[in-house]
Amino acid sequence: MFSRKSFLALAVLLAGCAAMSAGDYRDRAAQMMKGDFSERGQAGLGRLDQDETQALCSRRPADGALDRDAAARIEKLNLDGVRYPAAGRLLGDWREGEKIAQSGVGKQFSDNPKAPSGGNCYACHQLSPEELSFGTIGPSLRSFAKTRGGGEAMQRYVYAKIYNPEAFTACSSMPRFGRNGILTEDQIRHLTALLLDPQSPVNR
């Protein structure tokens, strides 16, 4: 009954009928949310505060696509914050990487704040062909290094992409694992190896 177009039309109609603008609704919604959550476990109310990237990326279909300048600004902002390992080695152990990719714990109010987080990569991506339980929110990463090689430049790209995906894709759905302190430097190195090591099941 409702096509995507008529859904947008409804949003416009409702906004027109209402006394407030979309921006007003956005502000009011943010304000309402801040009062309607309680802190629990490691999840404090500060998590509801948006940084510039999150605020710019909270877009509804009615807001239209992100314009090229805004996208470039978000990508530059996020690329500037990427921190590579001080020791210089970007590849870790793909076996550890596979464990990190399989684990979905970390940062929830039900999680132990002292325990390491996982990357939960299989939630969204196909990786090792042996793992049938993979999601499709992100593209398949099977054979990642086969088509791209595993040289220095590719290692730097993969490391940075996991550290902060929005350095390359503004408003990506993928979490900013390094920047937001979800994964450690070593964990990101292990995941980089999972994708680029020729011995990794991803590439066999």
């Binding site: 006394a19 919604a29 949310m33 999840a43 909270s58 877009r59 929830q108 937001n180």
Partner: protein, 271 residues
């Protein structure tokens, strides 16, 4: 030339073979999930909650020693049939848009004399520790089975709730930068092997929303929309959503209205 052609054909066949085997195992996995869902559908422990809910609705309880039989769920005092399919809605006596659980809380306070604190001491059940809201929700929802979702946005507060809920649905936050839309804003995606409904698409929204409340086998409990939203936010790495809060109601208005036209089938059984 001929050897090369044969070799190429062999490579092609092997390539197609392994691709076929992979596609086959993917299809087998999904078929296995379908069979599991069929086996689950044989009977529904939600019936136990529904029976308990019917008792709670009729029982005289609280300081006023009164039942919920006169509770107005939007279609008149005591009218339960079809009520869930029209919720959330604006209630003049509270001057507020309310979903089912908020309205039940309102009636527990107004009719039965409970304080809000007493009534919400246990909102989500856990084993021996039971939630009246879950039982009552199962009872009320079952009385809307077969009805078409029909959430109105006529009242200005209902319209405002929808637009606020929409903003909240796309609100990115927390250490993972997740919004509801991150998982539920695109069609034909899945997380691991769990299909994700696109809640901004009418067909997906209808199918998803009309299946709640539901008996979640993995929880061993009957779970409601308030629980569903709370647990989504937990997985989004947000803090805890307050029960019967304006935010929970606004999001429910957004989801329920998007499901308008869908045939209500809850309480269902889910993994």
């Amino acid at each position: 030339m001929r050897k090369g052609l044969v070799a190429a054909l062999v490579v092609l066949a092997l390539g197609a073979g392994s691709g076929h085997a992979r596609a086959q195992s993917d299809a087998d996995t999904l078929k296995g999930i379908e069979k599991y869902r069929e086996a689950l559908a044989d009977d529904n422990p939600a019936d136990l909650w529904e029976a308990r809910g019917a008792e709670l609705w009729a029982a005289r309880r609280g300081p006023k020693s009164s039942s919920l039989a006169q509770c107005d769920l939007g279609k008149g005092p005591g009218v339960v049939k079809g009520a869930y399919a029209e919720l959330p809605r604006y209630f003049a006596d509270a001057d507020r848009v309310m979903d089912l659980e908020t309205r039940l809380l309102h009636c527990m306070v107004a009719l039965q004399g409970f304080s809000a604190a007493e009534a919400t001491r246990r909102t989500f059940g856990n084993g021996g520790s039971r939630s009246d809201f879950e039982a009552l929700s199962a009872f009320v929802a079952a009385q809307s089975k077969g009805a078409k979702m029909n959430v109105s946005l006529e009242h200005p507060k209902e319209r405002a709730a929808y637009l606020l809920g929409e903003q909240m649905f796309f609100y990115r936050g927390g250490p993972h930068d997740f919004a509801c839309a991150t998982c539920h804003g695109e069609s034909n995606k899945r997380i691991r092997l769990q299909d994700l409904p696109n809640l901004t698409d009418a067909k997906d929204a209808q199918r998803a929303y009309t299946a709640w409340p539901a008996y979640r086998v993995s929880q061993g409990e009957l779970r409601t929309m308030q629980w569903r939203l709370n647990d989504c936010f937990r997985q989004q790495r947000f803090p805890q959503l307050k029960f019967a809060s304006d935010t929970s109601i606004a999001l429910t208005v957004f989801l329920a209205h998007n499901a308008n036209g869908g045939v209500f089938s809850a309480p269902t059984v889910k993994r």
